[in-house]
Amino acid sequence: MASEPATMVAPDWRGEIFTALKDADIRQVGYVPDAGHARLIELCRADPAIRAVPLTTEEEGVALLAGAWLGGQRGVLLMQSSGVGNCINMLAMTKTCRFPLTMLVTMRGEWAEFNPWQVPMGTKTQSALELCDVFVYRVERPEDAAETVAAALDSAFNADLATAVLLSQRLIGAKRWVK
């Protein structure tokens, strides 16, 4: 058996997702903050070629990205799983107009969850999206993150599809409540 390297370097999957966004020429990033997206939000805000737009609620982002696409720009939407529920009616516009959409969703309510209030939406996130004809990809392992995001972006912008990438709570790490 090959010996493990002395120190394992965890893949910087958040940085790799950012690279995937840049490679896809993403120019607008709508977000409602989530701890799991904190680093990605920082990277987007620091990039002069990206307009990062903080939203008061996630469905604003669905409309923002529809406008961006009308104007010829590509965008992406960052949110926590609870935000998916806020988007449902807006997704009717995405489907009716076949707007491209990629939502990167950090999951709560599924892996070592402390807060029971996160569980109802977290456990229904994927089925709610699929009920609205959003193509759902799920990431469990850090090495899959960037490739999966790139695939979702390809499907969105080349095939005019609504896509979501669920970044699992196990991947992100359960929230620590006692610091």
Partner: protein
């Protein structure tokens, strides 16, 4: 109709806003403002929302950010704006200089039976926009005020917000196309975005 009601006729108001349209992009909300726009002229630089209530202002924001060299006007109703009130906070933070939001305010939900909206009671949209960070706002009560706002559409240096008081009458519906894919592709083709 109230005798001597100085509030504007909604169709006349839309005509005035689009009178010297130039290369303005227009986004309208569900639903009467979409019929108002169609009554003036259906054209490829119009994007009508036939649904997604509350989305109009945010669609305008995404479009304005994407095309900073062009002017974007969103015209929507008080009920539609109220459903997306948070978007005024979001836009107040971004304030692209090429975006204007105009709300036709009759204090009613016109498509569902003229029920009173919040603006018929205590809610005042111009005050909300100002509190959200809009630097140039208009509370339009007559044609002179409307023309002041319309004149600024092509040279404002900040995001504008206008509340335009209109009468509660219901002119005949003028329905534009409602195929969303067609409207999207027509708009993108018109502005030279790849399809």
């Amino acid at each position: 109709m109230i005798p001597n009601d100085r509030r504007l006729d909604r169709r006349a108001a839309m005509r005035i806003l689009l009178e010297k349209r130039g290369d303005l992009f227009l986004v309208t909300g569900l639903g009467s403002t979409t019929w108002d726009a169609a009554s003036v002229a259906d054209e490829e630089r119009n994007f009508y929302l036939w649904g997604a209530m509350g989305a109009a202002a945010m669609v305008g924001l995404g479009l304005a950010i994407a095309r900073p060299e062009r002017r974007v006007l969103v015209v929507t109703g008080d009920g539609e704006m109220l459903m997306g009130l948070g978007s005024l906070a979001t836009i107040g933070v971004q304030r692209p200089p090429n975006l204007a939001i105009a709300v036709f305010d009759n204090g009613r939900y016109g498509e569902t039976g003229m029920q009173a909206s919040h603006t018929a009671e205590s809610v005042e949209l111009v005050g909300i926009a100002q509190a959200c960070g809009f630097k140039e706002t208009f509370d339009v009560g007559d044609e002179v005020g409307l023309r002041d706002f319309a004149a600024r559409l092509h040279n404002a240096a900040t995001t504008m917000f206008a509340r335009i008081a209109i009468r509660t009458d219901e002119p005949p519906r003028v329905l534009p196309l409602r195929d969303g894919v067609f409207l999207k592709n027509r708009f993108r083709r018109a502005i030279g975005a790849e399809t």
